[in-house]
């Protein structure tokens, strides 16, 4: 049984426009989303703003009821069996809101601990541990209203872990954090994964998804446009692997020879000042350089560089925009 199972999930919002002549407008936030996440997997949901990531997570955390389709968390239906799901999941949506700003961090954690039925003896130990983990140990007694944005984000993380859930939903967890804080948070996520927790992460930081996730679904306009491991996704844009060779004089013969090679997709030449740059698009990436060099024997060659495709290239290709 998968930790998270999503089948044809769909969510439509109706909004009313106008004060006198009320018109209703329908916005499809999530169109048709299906995926599954195995136990202990770190799954990423990648997409631009408004793609439907947060809406999907809200449906999975039982806060929103789908318009159609179904989702199961540890075998329990998110609509009808929410009570069985809630004790086992933790989530953060982050941001400025969602915490009691008139109370201290410790009080906030105590409150949520009791809501999640954590025994007092357990929470007495766990609260200092969590505060230490997110770097708020020395500010635990201060009221949240005095916290910076980054501190609030970290407190959100601690809050989501207060009941030691098996399954975590992290919606853009590093947003608003400075690089040091963000790095610390990613380490926390890795540690959680080591503890065999299932994690669904949404983000629009490519390198973060690449670094952390075992599998990624790219979502755009409410639909999943690609779903695979980061490596496989990058292969979607392997054609962007370009080897640039500086040369002095490129003959047409050379170009046709290159084009005839079976590992070469395309060849083009760019004139830069006194030199010409030969651009060879090949799936093999920098592996092809030795073979190319044999073809260049006898020709003067300057700098040779190769550009590997990144997840960002894949993402941009998938959700539109220029490759």
């Amino acid at each position: 049984m998968n930790a998270i199972e999503v089948n044809n999930l769909r969510r439509v919002f109706t909004t009313n426009i106008g004060r006198f002549k009320r018109e209703t407008k329908e916005v499809v936030a999530v169109d048709d989303v299906s995926f599954s996440v195995a136990d202990g997997e770190l799954f990423g949901l990648l997409g631009p703003n408004g793609a439907g990531k947060t809406t999907t997570v809200k449906m999975l955390t039982t806060l929103l009821i789908p318009s159609s389709g179904s989702a199961h968390i540890a075998g329990n239906d998110v609509v009808d069996e929410a009570d069985q799901i809630r004790p086992r999941i933790g989530f953060i949506f982050g941001g400025e809101r969602g915490l009691y700003w008139r109370l201290s961090a410790i009080d906030n954690l105590r409150y949520f601990a009791s809501l999640y039925h954590v025994e007092p003896e357990v929470s007495a130990k766990r609260i200092p541990y969590l505060l230490e983990m997110v770097g708020l140990a020395d500010r635990g007694k201060e009221k949240v209203e005095g916290y910076s944005r980054g501190m609030k984000q970290r407190l959100h993380i601690a809050r989501s872990l207060i009941h030691d859930p098996d399954i975590l939903f992290l919606d853009e967890p590093t947003i608003g954090l400075d690089p040091v804080g963000a790095r610390g948070l990613r380490q926390v996520v890795r540690n959680l994964q080591d503890e065999k927790k299932t994690i669904l992460l949404t983000t629009h930081y490519m390198f973060e998804a690449d670094m952390l996730c075992q599998r990624i679904a790219v979502i755009d306009k409410g639909n999943i446009v690609a779903m695979d491991t980061p490596e496989e996704l990058k292969k979607l844009v392997l054609d962007l692997s370009v080897i640039e060779v500086e040369m002095f004089g490129v003959s047409d013969d050379l170009i046709s020879t290159l084009r005839s090679q079976n590992y070469v997709d395309n060849v083009s030449v760019e004139n830069r000042e006194q030199r010409q740059v030969l651009m060879v698009q090949t799936e093999r990436g920098s592996e092809a350089i030795p073979d190319l060099m044999t073809l260049f024997e006898g020709i003067r060659v300057g700098k040779v560089t190769s550009r590997e495709p990144t997840l960002e290239d894949a993402y941009v290709r998938l959700v539109g925009g220029e490759a």
Binding site: K58, R86, G95, R97, R102, Y111, S114
Partner: protein, 265 residues
């Protein structure tokens, strides 16, 4: 309801109570509604009644305390759920394994407890300003009546919290609902002054029975029949509120999940 969860729920009620009290103490709006307003009403009423002040002092104190109780119910307990939404914590609460009524109960308890302190404040004010010494004739009956009143108000608060979130328009009527209950509840003048057709409406209000019990006990008119009636009615209403609130909450929260109104509106 899962009985094995009772100890956990009881813990939650206690913590919810504590957290609400803490938040209330730093909220000037609440301080006003619970303490300042009832004191001003008490002063006003006492001044208006000045020829008969000795006779009516305790009546006014109890009555103005009731106005504080009702205001706290209306403005604070009523906003128990909508308030969480404004702050952004509602989603966190709904997604927790604890049922919402348990959380709201703890908050209501804090509000009622706090506004009873306003009755004490009025007592002190009157003693100071008017130099009167006031006595409660039947203190034991008074104390028991307070307990019943707390029960009735706390459970009524459950209903109010869910009504307020069902329809945002209900919020508009908040201000308009404050004084009618003072009138129909007979807090500061007997309902005998009102036209006869309003009496059934008074009888339908738990606050009316609370005021009646407390006023009877304070002036020594607490006969067995009178108190049994008052306490019985408060108990009756409390039970109805508890039963109704369960379905109401389920309905309300489900609706919020469908309409996507758990977050900001």
């Amino acid at each position: 309801m899962n009985l094995s969860k009772l100890p956990a729920h009881w813990r939650t009620i206690r913590i919810s109570f504590e957290m609400q009290l803490r938040q209330n103490f730093s909220d000037p709006f609440i301080i006003f509604a619970i303490i300042v307003q009832p004191m001003i009403i008490a002063t006003l009423a006492l001044w208006m009644l000045q020829d008969q002040v000795d006779q009516f002092a305790i009546f006014v104190i109890v009555g103005s305390g009731m106005t504080g109780l009702w205001s706290s119910l209306l403005f604070i307990s009523g906003n128990a759920i909508t308030g969480e939404r404004w702050v952004g914590t509602l989603e966190g609460l709904v997604a927790s394994p604890t049922p919402m009524p348990v959380i709201v109960l703890g908050k209501n308890l804090a509000n009622v407890f706090q506004s009873l302190s306003s009755m004490l404040a009025s007592y002190a004010l009157v003693a100071l300003l008017f130099g009167l010494s006031i006595e409660i004739q039947q203190p034991l009956l008074f104390a028991v009546s307070i307990l019943f009143a707390m029960l009735a108000f706390v459970t009524f608060g459950l209903i109010m919290a869910s009504l307020f979130i069902i329809n945002p328009a209900v919020q508009n009527w908040q201000n308009g609902l404050e004084f009618p209950v003072y009138i129909l509840g007979g807090f500061l003048f007997p309902i005998a002054l009102l036209p006869g057709w309003t009496t059934p409406f008074s009888y339908l209000l738990a606050p009316y029975w609370a005021a009646r019990a407390l006023q009877a006990a304070s002036v020594g008119a607490g006969t067995f029949e009178e108190m049994a009636l008052n306490w019985g009615m408060m108990l009756f209403f409390s039970i109805i509120y508890i039963i109704t609130s369960r379905s109401l909450f389920l309905f309300v929260l489900r609706k919020a999940r469908v309409d996507a109104t758990l977050g900001m509106q």
